[in-house]
Assembly symmetry: C2
């Protein structure tokens, strides 16, 4: 016969295991809470410094609140830990460029695909990103590289009507859907990788060949 003390120990162990399983389950559930956000713009004009350099005291006359859709977008971007893929038609917003440069500086692998016609337009931030060493590629065909999406840590995708410009953020009616649905994230990542290879500078064609004529 097993002594009584063993039953007590067994009981305590069982309770401990049950509690641990419950904790693990709760932790996993919390981690797995799905991301489904929709941001609508225009956003109120706020200073982005409290999010971009919280250690400094900014004296500019703009409100220093951190609410509103632009703050939500910046917080999401700055949350990236390993990788950021940006596929954007026009990129001229200084706060968003600051956020991308911050991530690059932290060692996050940042890659940017953009449109060849607009990347040299006045106010474009693409030159600043390139100067800082961010990898940038662009299309070479006549249509627009009109995508406006980004993938964070291969886990979250944001897509919508919004270019990364001050006009989009402050003046236009725009939307941005943010989701961690794995099927969606995979689709956008595949599209990014496909374009990244297609726009590889080593395969640029400066003197396009004529299409071969059939017999």
């Amino acid at each position: 016969m097993v002594p009584a003390v063993s039953w007590r120990r067994l009981g305590a162990a069982a309770v401990a295991v049950a509690l641990s399983l419950e904790l693990v389950y709760r932790f996993m559930r919390r981690r797995r809470r799905p991301v489904r956000e929709v941001l609508f713009f225009p956003a109120p004009l706020l200073c982005s410094e409290p999010l971009l350099s919280p250690e400094k005291q900014c004296a500019c006359p703009l409100p220093h609140r951190t609410d509103g859709p632009m703050s939500q977008l910046l917080r999401r971007l700055l949350g990236a830990r390993r990788s950021l893929e940006v596929c954007i038609f026009t990129f001229s917003s200084p706060p968003l460029a600051r956020a991308v440069l911050l991530l690059h500086g932290r060692g996050v692998r940042v890659r940017v695909i953009t449109d060849s016609d607009y990347m040299a337009a006045a106010g474009s931030q693409i030159g600043e990103l390139r100067k800082a060493g961010v990898e940038v590629r662009h299309n070479q065909h006549s249509g627009f590289m009109h995508h406006k999406f980004a993938v964070l840590d291969q886990r979250i995708v944001m897509t919508g009507s919004m270019n990364w410009t001050m006009q989009a953020i402050q003046t236009n009616q725009e939307n941005l859907l943010i989701t961690d649905d794995s099927a969606c994230v995979r689709a956008y990542l595949e599209e990014f990788e496909r374009l990244w290879e297609e726009y590889n500078p080593t395969s640029y064609c400066f003197f396009p060949k004529k299409a071969e004529e059939g017999p």
Copy 2:
């Protein structure tokens, strides 16, 4: 004491109830399979007639296949049974306008919000929609109504970079995320209703008042 025959009947009834519940559960599960699609453009140039007028034989020289992202988009749109809200910056694609007019003709409640600057541009389909009796409203402010989303039957939302133009469909790199996630659908519907009221023609202001000065 309950006679034995009642027990048999009770057993049969229990089995019947269990089977019915299983069938209902499977039916609900099938109905609830989540919609998560991402379409990427440009799409190959195909004739849209097999989807828009399947009863007619089209003799045009374009391929009459019904695969590819444009066919998927048309099929989704034509699947609307009760309502369609379209919130689109530029709308000049004749096949998409045909689809919207077909739905309008079938009694689906169609409402369109668009941008005032682009709705009168060459090739815009907004005039055709209005002539056919589709309700259309547009912005009145200086920024762009730059959204590119649609809500079908208050159940599915599609959003992305793509305007409803031939260039977007055939030439540009574009994306369209289609989902029935209820939180996302609700957010876009609320945005649509908000803009629909804001752009109500009865509240247009042709002679804007000067902002009242404070004391």
